[in-house]
Amino acid sequence: MTQNDVGTLLISLRKVTKTYGEGTATVQALNGVDLDIGQGEFVAIMGPSGSGKSTALNILGCLDAPSSGHYLFRDIEVDALTRNQRALLRRHYLGFVFQGFNLLSRTSAQENVELPLLYRGEDAAHRHEASRRALAQVGLTGWEHHTPAELSGGQQQRVAIARAIVTQPLVLLADEPTGNLDSKRGHEIMELLVSLNRDQGITVIMVTHELDMAAYASRVVRFADGNVGSDSMKVAA
């Protein structure tokens, strides 16, 4: 493992499997995955459809529970946690960006960004200030009161990124964040992620199938048949 020079160990998967369905319709999505990710890394997870890369990301993000194996987040045994404890882990340490943006419709950008703070019990003044700051960080000052329908795809994804980083998470998980965007907007989003990783030390784990997007990452993990096929560090540019 070479990532230790980037930072201390943050995430560790051991022999993680995930099985969907029952009986003859069983699908083995993950097949004993071992994966370590250090703090501050920018990891791109690649692989063909059905290779298990999205499943792995969902398990890393505690959106889904593994069928067997161990998941250690810092020193927390994630697979031993209850539903609510995993929700609290998401609330305090994780941020999500999805391919389909997943913003609340008919809700202003600012209210979307405030939402995670509300669940953290922050007061209104702090919510306001933090959400404006996060929106400014993704370059959306002046768009606070627009609803998703009034924003372009790229802008919507920026709102989603602002929502993910407003809580200052340890890890940002992105599932094909550029999948619904044209390549120009895609590159802008990637540059944003790179700057968040570089300037704020947020660990970024991103699933993508686009090589030019994966090129922004410092490490590329390729999945094949439900397991890690190759794992390569990029030499610092």
């Binding site: 969902n58 993000g61 959106l63 889904d64 529970a65 539903r83 609510n84 929700a87 609290l88 998401r90 609330r91 305090h92 994780l94 941020g95 999500f96 999805f98 997943n102 913003l103 609340l104 419709s105 008919r106 809700t107 209210e111 939402l115 995670p116 509300l118 669940y119 953290r120 019990g121 929502r163 809580t167």
Partner: protein, 405 residues
């Protein structure tokens, strides 16, 4: 804990505002259901009360004896002989269960006072009429004995007649021209209002029966006898006694049918109230269907939005909401919408009932029971259909909820 409740409230209100159309339709369904049920039942109650009030204003334990067979299709009531004052005396003397027996003979005449004239019903009767008909003297007095026996030209008038002929002045001691004679007003009846058939009970002039017989009808006939039973008397028994006595006095053979009939007003009242209660039940049932339809409307709205809301729940769970926080928000949303709908429904029903009862001259009886029942029912519908889909969605894994199609 308080912070959590406050947050859930804030989120719920935001969700309501965000989906104004959906919220509006939900509230509308409840408003219509609640409003209809309350209005129907309140009006029904008012109508029942109105009829029973009017019947009881006729007099308690009142029987009415008329010549001719019982009214009804195909029955001939004309031709039967009227009663005589001696019949009235016999009834009073021989049936101890009767408290008051009042003969009545009526005639429609034009009354004149100065330049005012008014067409009204003049009834000749005795003082027993006040007891039997449940009338109270509002001012002045009833008839004196010598006025009754001698058939003097005195009268007691109803409130409508007073208004029409004397205006705001006192009628006592005033003179009333009736056809070719003048009579002195000695008493004023306390107002009763509308009768069971919608007629004005206060449009009446009462005189001693001999006065009317001599000066207006010109014969000894008594067309109706009003009989008031003592409290606790058995109406059926008394009616049998009256029949026996009248058959005897009218010399009817065993084979002949009665050529008179006795009605029990209480029985009529019960029949009428029973009918109205049935109508109220029917209207209530119709309204309950509209409440149900409103509920189904709410269910549809909720089901249509289930996809969007399931994804919303997925988003909330993904960014760190706990299951019970999401549920609390949805519960508050449902409670706020159905409570709002219920309150608007109750308010609208209140206004509608107020207007309609005034229009129909009915008493407005606020019925807390039906208001509460309709409100609770609507709240249950709102909460069940608003909360149940959310409960299912919130128990899903966040990633499943997020991908829900």
């Amino acid at each position: 804990m308080n912070q959590m409740l406050l947050n859930a409230l804030l989120l719920a209100l935001r969700a309501i505002r965000r989906n104004l159309m959906r919220s509006f339709l939900t509230v509308l369904g409840i408003v219509i259901g609640v409003g209809a049920v309350i209005t129907m039942v309140t009006l029904g109650n008012g109508a029942t009360r109105m009829v029973s009030d009017q019947i009881s204003s006729l007099g308690s334990n009142l029987l009415i004896l008329r010549p001719g067979q019982q009214l009804g299709p195909g029955r001939e009531s004309a031709g039967a002989a009227n009663f005589r004052l001696t019949d009235v005396e016999a009834l009073q003397a021989q049936i101890p269960s009767l408290r008051a027996v009042a003969p009545v003979v009526s005639s429609r005449v034009t009354l004149v006072v100065g330049s005012q004239n008014w067409s009204s019903q003049v009834s000749g009767t005795s003082n027993a009429y006040f007891t039997a008909g449940n009338w109270k003297i509002g001012a002045g007095r009833s008839f004196e004995e010598d006025e009754e026996t001698a058939g003097k030209a005195v009268c007691v008038i109803g409130d409508t007649v007073r208004k029409q002929l004397f205006g705001s002045g006192s009628p006592l001691g005033g003179e009333l021209r009736v056809k070719n004679f003048t009579c002195v007003v000695v008493g004023l009846l306390a107002a009763k209002g509308q009768g069971a058939m919608g007629q004005d009970q206060d449009d009446v002039v009462l005189m001693p029966i001999r006065t009317v017989q001599r000066r207006l009808t010109g014969n000894q006939d008594v067309s109706t006898v009003m009989l008031s039973m003592r409290d606790g008397a058995n109406a059926d028994q008394v009616m049998v006694q009256i029949r026996r006595l009248m058959r005897e006095r009218r010399k009817l053979a065993e084979s002949e049918e009665d050529n008179f009939n006795v009605m029990d007003t209480k029985q009529i009242a019960e029949t009428l109230s029973g009918t109205i209660r049935t109508m109220t039940g029917l209207l209530g049932a119709v309204a309950a269907v509209s409440l149900l339809v409103g509920g189904i409307g709410i269910m549809n709205i909720m089901l249509v939005s289930v996809t969007e809301r399931t994804r919303e729940i997925g988003i909330r769970l993904a960014i760190g909401a706990l299951e019970h926080e999401v549920l609390l928000q949805f519960l508050i949303e449902a409670v706020v919408l159905s409570a709002l709908g219920g309150l608007i429904g109750i308010t609208l029903a209140f206004v509608a009932c107020l207007g309609l009862t005034a229009l129909m001259n009915m008493p407005f009886l606020f019925n807390p029971g039906i208001n509460l029942l309709a409100f609770v029912f609507s709240a249950v519908i709102g909460i069940v259909f608003g909360y149940m889909p959310a409960r299912r969605a919130a128990s899903l894994d966040p990633i499943v909820a997020l991908r829900y199609e």
